[in-house]
Symmetry: C2
Subunit: 242 residues, 2 copies
């Protein structure tokens, strides 16, 4: 269930993260690789950042999934966004910021300290673009929660994950590793685990998805996109003119 426990050599996973970042802007891959030196692991269910605490240093996820979350006094939990390999944690433009959300590891998470802005040419651009994409994901999530019904929400989220993991080179023809439980999906989508379950079964019956052993396959992503009316995010990934 935990992604990194597979037999794939860790190098491959790093590379996936690298590929992801490097596609954001023209970055010297060798320099970036050098910066990725020291890797740490956080265990499942552990917090990477705790709400209200001061943020340590920005980090780059090399492997595994995490989520930003908030919890209400009465225990209700909401995942605000998912953080996948290649994503940045706690990267912000503010001088001395307090975390506005907890970041919790949904699987074992391998990360490294994000190389400082000026360590590598164009890295500033890469981070900026990364931030813009992240905001686009937040907006997409708001649309999802505000105006889509349960089944659309699930499908739409699956499409987003597919898209993002594809960019990170983590999608093969038979889908991708999806370590989320139905309860986690519920916490992200503003639903109940029970209802997520029923809707997923529906989607399986409709042959929209296959999901087994933590591996998810979207049978026809394009058709599903149309079915849901999802606008895929198109932040320019090309290098800026110059």
């Amino acid at each position: 269930m935990v992604m990194i426990s597979s037999s794939a050599a860790p190098e491959n996973l790093e590379l996936a993260a690298l590929r992801r970042l490097s596609r954001l802007a023209p970055v010297d891959q060798a320099a970036l690789a050098a910066a990725l030196g020291e890797q740490r692991t956080v265990r499942v269910h552990r917090d990477l950042i705790r709400e209200g605490q001061e943020i340590v240093e920005p980090r780059l996820i090399v492997a595994g999934w995490a989520a930003r979350s908030r919890i209400l006094p009465d225990g209700r939990r909401q995942f605000l966004s998912f953080l996948l390999p290649g994503d940045l944690i706690g990267m912000c433009r503010q001088p001395r910021p307090l975390a506005v959300a907890t970041v919790v590891a949904l699987t074992d998470v391998v990360y490294c300290v994000a190389p400082p802005r000026d360590a590598i040419p164009h890295l500033t651009d890469a981070y900026a673009t990364s931030g813009a994409i992240e905001e686009a994901h937040l907006l997409g999530h708001i649309l999802r929660l505000g105006r889509l019904n349960a089944q659309e929400r699930i499908g739409d989220l699956f499409l987003e994950l597919h898209e993002r993991l594809d960019l990170a080179g983590l999608v093969s023809r038979d889908g991708f590793e999806m370590p989320l439980t139905q309860e986690m999906l519920a916490d992200a989508l503003g639903l109940t685990a029970v209802h997520v379950n029923r809707m997923v079964q529906q989607m399986r019956r409709d042959n929209d998805v296959k999901w087994k052993n933590g591996r998810l396959t979207l049978v026809d992503p394009v058709a599903l996109t149309r079915k849901i009316g999802r606008a895929s995010i198109r932040v320019s990934l090309d290098a800026p003119a110059g």
Copy 2:
């Protein structure tokens, strides 16, 4: 109904916007005021930015309300966030970005071109903080849509607006101008106008809010905050050490 049609001198409104920005970081107010020279007005219902189009130049709202919105193929509409006096429109760190959402004027909106980053010392910090706050608002909106019921959503949004307008100096003891219709509230909160209506009546009966003639009063913001379990946003507004 349109805020700026009041008898208040336009200078006061500018100042409100100024105060807002200046509180974000130590900014030379005179320099900022100079940069605010040329003001334009956009009529109600007109778009300031259209989704998918290239963003022109970043703007600063001087008076009036706008909203970022997305519309689904079938006509469903979702407001992603509200933009109030002192807020920035289209400010992004990306080189040549496409708008990820439409920005529509909810009232007549007076704006000016946002002074460039390096025009004024510390303005970069101010923009950074402004961006961080905006992200915090997005996260708050996600929590709202995902885990609060109709009445909590409305109350929580009212509290956010109160907080933001207060920072902008636009709240007096008898509340603040609230140009939103119940339908707009519905489009922001993922509800129906009909249901918003019923819940607002409930809140009036409970003596949580007064709302008449476009003016909204929160009878006891602190109590309401507790009642809803809302965590107010505490991005550091103080100057960074040094």
